[in-house]
């Protein structure tokens, strides 16, 4: 269920409708195009998964920060200047050798914007939302992630304003890496829970 919208030339009906509505709202005096530019710029250039990767890498290298993140992720993130819209109530859930976590919003597309940015298309799609709660292992398999049978899967359905962040396990072979180096291994998908963090080999 992906849909074309305005990738065509000449402009699609969707593109024309969007332009018409923006123009009407500007004319009504209720929308300032500069605010739209600012919002788009924020999520295209400032707020994205590098924020979450920083929190995770920091937790990998600083046990006190790891504890703080699991205890109160909103406060821990704020302590390093991360927070805001759609992340007012953050909860971090940690993958371990025994437990694997997966985040979904079955009702819409709730997602922790300040740490991950805006959600990818698949996260918003009906097939992901439908299957993540009923058959999470098949979802993980679609991403090439195969867990041992004895790993317990915990699925978090974001039905409230609580936003969930998965902290993946630190990959082997990263002893002595700096926080900045470790951040490069922490993918967006690993913080949703569909993949592990990258191995140093894969990142090389």
């Amino acid at each position: 269920m992906t849909h074309p919208d305005d990738h065509t030339e000449p402009p699609s009906e969707f593109a024309l409708e969007v332009r018409a509505l923006e123009s009407l709202l500007v004319e009504k005096g209720v929308i300032d195009p500069a605010a739209l530019d600012e919002l788009i710029d924020a999520y295209e250039h400032r707020v994205g998964p590098r924020n979450g990767a920083h929190l995770v890498a920091r937790a990998w290298t600083d046990p006190a920060f790891a504890d703080a993140l699991l205890d109160d992720a909103t406060a821990a993130a704020a302590s390093v200047g991360i927070g805001g819209l759609q992340g007012e109530h953050l909860v971090a859930v940690a993958n371990t050798p025994e437990v694997h976590n997966l985040v979904v919003c079955t009702l819409c597309s709730c997602y922790p914007w300040p740490v991950l940015g805006l959600p990818p298309a698949w996260y918003k799609s009906a097939p992901y939302r439908a299957r993540a709660v009923a058959d999470p292992r098949s979802v993980l398999a679609a991403f090439g992630t195969h867990l041992a049978d004895d790993v317990e899967v915990q699925v978090w359905d974001s039905t409230s304003e609580i936003r969930y962040l998965v902290t993946p396990m630190r990959p082997a072979g990263t002893d002595g890496w700096s926080t900045g180096e470790l951040e490069t291994l922490v993918t967006r998908n690993s913080m949703i829970g569909v993949e592990p963090a990258r191995s140093p080999q894969a990142a090389a």
Binding site: F14, L24, K28, L39, E44, Q86, P114, V133, D135
Partner: protein, 221 residues
């Protein structure tokens, strides 16, 4: 409402298509504009986030499947603008304003500076509790059957099912009433459900955690 937005556990919705992680934030400029228009129009204060969700849900089953994600946002936003009287049906049809919006609406127009602050600060949804929580972690509860046409976050797949309260998240704005313009709080709980209680004996062994407000829950016998 018991609509097609509430897809948890449904079959037949098509293939899951993973990505590489390198795609653009927005699929197109139009998608980006719809995203920003929705946030900026929300800042006018005429409706809540829960009302916006419900507006998109009210589009009906056909549009849930037919329209793309930001097409639904556009349709939901258009519905709310019209229902709230910010624009009229005639203005939407012609594309031309019959006149400016009322002063009190224009006064809340989001500026670039306020937009930046909104992104950085957000708005918490927890409120002072008026009463003590009724449930405690470890307690077994049942999700009440609930099928009104209004907004709710009591996912259909958990209704009528038994789970265990794991955490009390405090008192949070209650969506069912917030969507109707009443910003009141109810205790919110993280409730864990065994997959077999949700999907039957053949389900893989996993746990599903759902955040549920106190009015959605009753004590398990």
């Amino acid at each position: 409402m018991n609509g097609l937005h509430d897809v948890g556990g449904m079959h037949g919705l098509g293939r899951l298509v993973p990505d590489t992680g390198d795609e653009a934030v927005f699929g197109s400029r139009s998608q980006a504009r719809v995203f920003a228009l929705t946030i900026a129009a929300g800042a006018l204060g005429r409706w809540s986030l829960d009302a916006s969700r419900h507006a998109r849900e009210r589009l009906g089953a056909v549009d849930q499947l037919r329209l793309g994600y930001f097409e639904r946002w556009l349709a939901g936003l258009t519905l709310q603008l019209r229902e709230s009287g910010v624009v009229t049906a005639d203005e939407l049809a012609s594309g031309n304003a019959d006149g400016p919006a009322p002063e009190e609406v224009v006064a809340r127009r989001l500026t670039a500076e306020r937009a930046g602050r909104a992104v950085e600060r957000g708005r918490r949804s927890d409120l002072e509790a008026a009463s003590a929580p009724r449930f405690t972690p470890g307690q077994r509860v049942r999700v009440r059957p609930h099928a009104t046409p209004g907004q709710t976050r009591a996912v259909r797949y958990a209704q009528g099912r038994f789970g265990e309260v794991r955490v009390h998240h405090g008192c949070h704005v209650f969506p069912d009433r917030n969507a109707r313009g009443e910003r009141v709080g109810e205790h919110l709980y993280g409730v864990a459900f065994d997959a077999r209680e949700l999907w039957g004996g053949s389900a893989t062994g996993h746990t599903v955690h759902v955040d549920l407000w106190e009015p959605y829950l009753e004590e398990a016998p």
